[in-house]
Subunit: 126 residues, 2 copies
């Protein structure tokens, strides 16, 4: 899987790495138990510091997406759950997005359409 980093973005580099891997997981480009590049290797490819990659990996680990072993490196977890913490975070973020969309005149149907299209877009790669 290939990561694209925008150094000019206001989004922190470690956050971009985090987000891209989430997208890769959803698209099926990364599969359970698959091994990820070593922090030094990915740092070289992206021209960022080793610790920046490690920070992105660590964030994904605290969220349960990745597992680290000192022997085997970092790999994708076997399965993920929609735990309470995730559901609460999802609700909060959707709350703000739904509010902004409603203010600007988008209907529920239009919002649902966007989500459906994006969701199906992920299923294409499986």
């Amino acid at each position: 899987m290939r990561l694209r980093i925008d150094a000019a973005s206001t989004v922190p580099l470690y956050q971009q790495i985090h987000d891209q891997i989430i997208l890769g997981l959803a698209a099926g480009e990364l599969r359970p138990d698959e091994t990820l590049p070593a922090v030094r290797q990915l740092a070289d490819e992206l021209n960022v510091n080793m610790l920046t990659v490690a920070k992105g990996y660590n964030l994904l680990k605290t969220e349960g997406y990745l597992i680290s072993d000192r022997r085997q490196g970092t790999r994708v977890a076997a399965d993920f759950q929609a735990d309470k913490l995730f559901m609460q975070s999802l609700q909060e973020q959707l709350h703000l997005l739904t509010a902004a969309a409603k203010i600007r005149g988008l209907s529920v149907a239009e919002l649902q359409q966007i989500i459906t299209t994006q969701y199906q877009g992920f299923e294409q790669g499986e």
Copy 2:
């Protein structure tokens, strides 16, 4: 409208102010042409600096939600549009959320259900 600020949150104070006002607009607690508290007054109420409130207001102005006059203070704009910039930002943010939800096993229907419930929650206050 009453704003609630969490000084211990990792979300910047000006961002919290911004977000709460968006939610207030969606819930009908703030209406078009309505005047908002002066930056100094709101800063006093929230125990934050005047410039922090101004930063939140300015962000909302660049997004088209508010209008500032040196005579009349800051008020809600007359109407909002779903312009290209907003739609693009909405798509990007929903993209990541949809990806995370899919990974964790949520179906399209479950996502749509959350949005519908939240959307209707805003309509209650109108």
